[in-house]
Symmetry: C2
Subunit: 313 residues, 2 copies
């Protein structure tokens, strides 16, 4: 969600206050940069419990569980065109592959207080911006039929903020469908309703609404309008700062059409590109929305919420 | 561990074979770069169970549980001097903060098949090379007494390899002591023995031996010799490829002396720098060593091993 409020100061203050409240309660620890936190045991358990709750019913869908690392091949990052649409959120990785002489130069420059990045070079990897991105190249080729995946892991987005709802590194639970176009469309509709229902059951004042990704620049505004008009993206929105903004997205359901099928050569038995859909749960955002709703004392939350978030058996 | 074998070809073949065995069994999925894998549900559960097993007794030590993200402030990365000692393993992060015109240039260059990294600039973060590194700045100042931390998370090390035991992104469980020098020394000794005992209980042919970190270059060889002579680092070694190498480290115990206390200004009540010690468990390495030992069919492992790795209650 973008900040549409006229009153930036009040919104910023509200964010600072919520951030301070969560830090003071010891749920998160300031990790030295805007949007970076250490998680307490209580907060980390909560995230695990939310992920388990979000995953209810995945087994019945025949979802295959896969977990990828926080970094993935730069070559695959290239293929997604993320750097075209979301350059401002990108994180690529540099490493050092020079000689001992190069390293000596680096260390000398550094000791003189100079920047030393020029001795590094692009590594083979980039940070994962959405947990489904490392999946698609694995599916390259003809798939025998519809497939469903249960993915969870760390995402990186370079958007430093004082809002604790906006992290640079966060965990996302995804449910991904790859296959028939109509089934992909239907999957998003049905699962998005389930997603909303689950979050309402947890006591969140959640609503579903069409949304757009934060595409970059002028071309981006055009892409965003199209996405909105197509209802390609639905977000589950929860008010965190009252009327000061439009609320914060804590989950989403996205129709990719044939974007990934076409890009990564994922083909249906008839030779056409597979369609895909992903449902995403922002695990820290849901945890923080619950904390905002039920209080910082997680042990004192209403029994019916706690029961739903019982540790997995 | 370094590869000391005269017969590189046989060792490489053995690594390829083990890698193929683990991939064929569906435990890991090739994620497109050497040292990057997707984890199956079975493998991921196994890692969680090993982490829980490794953490046995942490509560009695009064360990505070904290979890950090896979990225941490570049400023803190700077302070650790990691780029001096381990440049070849480093991962720093670049992002895009340019204008729309800059982005247009980037996109044009990219469309022409040119490199586009020159339009990126260093971001505020670096990849975490060891899960205790994001902790130390949090402790800056005078600490009231000895403290123990339970940390777990993703580490990045840029060392592409065909050996499935050597990942670019992997999870590490750490137990960190910060405080009195003698107590820090004692903590390492006692906990390293516990660490070894636990891994032997799991059926691993494990032994404890002095070791050194893979410091870079000629100066690095000198540092490595000192570390070895001081027994500042002990590793739990398991043979994975028979006599073809010296075995693979799956866990370690490290005395840092006052390195981090001094660097990050962590002071004892008497004003002197706190000493620190960390015990590390390489969770994927332990999982793979267990698979090498007990077989790829995790459900068919010996009952006494499975019992120790029971899901946490």
């Amino acid at each position: 969600m973008t900040d549409m409020s006229d009153d930036r100061t009040a919104l910023d203050r509200a964010r600072d206050d919520f951030r301070a409240e969560v830090l003071d309660a010891g749920l998160l620890v300031d990790a030295g940069e805007p949007g970076l936190y250490g998680r307490s045991g209580v907060f980390d358990d909560l995230v695990d419990r939310i992920a388990a709750f979000a995953s209810t019913g995945f087994a019945e869908l025949g979802a295959e569980r896969l977990r990828f690392a926080p970094v993935f091949p730069r070559r695959e990052f290239e293929r997604t065109d993320y750097i075209v649409s979301f350059p401002h959120l990108t994180g690529t990785i540099n490493g050092f592959v020079g000689s001992e002489a190069d390293h000596k130069s680096l260390v000398t420059a550094r000791a003189a207080g100079e920047a030393w990045d020029s001795w590094l070079s692009p590594a083979e990897t980039a940070l994962v911006p959405a947990v489904c991105h490392p999946l698609y190249e694995r599916l390259s080729g003809t798939i025998p039929g519809d497939r469903v995946y249960d993915l969870r892991g760390f995402c990186f987005r370079h958007e430093p903020s004082n809002d604790p709802m906006r992290l640079q590194a966060f965990r996302m639970q995804e449910l991904v469908f790859v296959g028939d176009p109509d089934a992909a469309h239907e999957f998003r509709t049905v699962q998005c309703e389930r997603q909303l229902r689950g979050l309402v059951e947890l006591g969140l004042d959640a609503r579903l609404q069409p949304a757009n990704d934060p595409f970059f620049g002028r071309t981006g505004r055009f892409l965003a309008r199209n996405q909105l008009a197509d209802e390609a993206k639905l977000e589950v929105i929860v008010p965190i700062y009252g009327d000061l903004d439009e609320g914060t997205a804590v989950a989403s359901g996205n129709r990719h059409g044939e974007h990934f099928g076409d890009t990564f050569g994922i083909l249906l038995p008839d030779g056409s590109a597979a369609h895909s859909t992903c449902l995403g749960w922002g695990l820290e955002r849901i945890a923080l929305a619950l904390i905002r709703t039920h209080g910082v004392d997680v042990a004192a939350w209403p029994a019916d919420v706690t029961r739903l978030l019982a540790p997995a058996p």
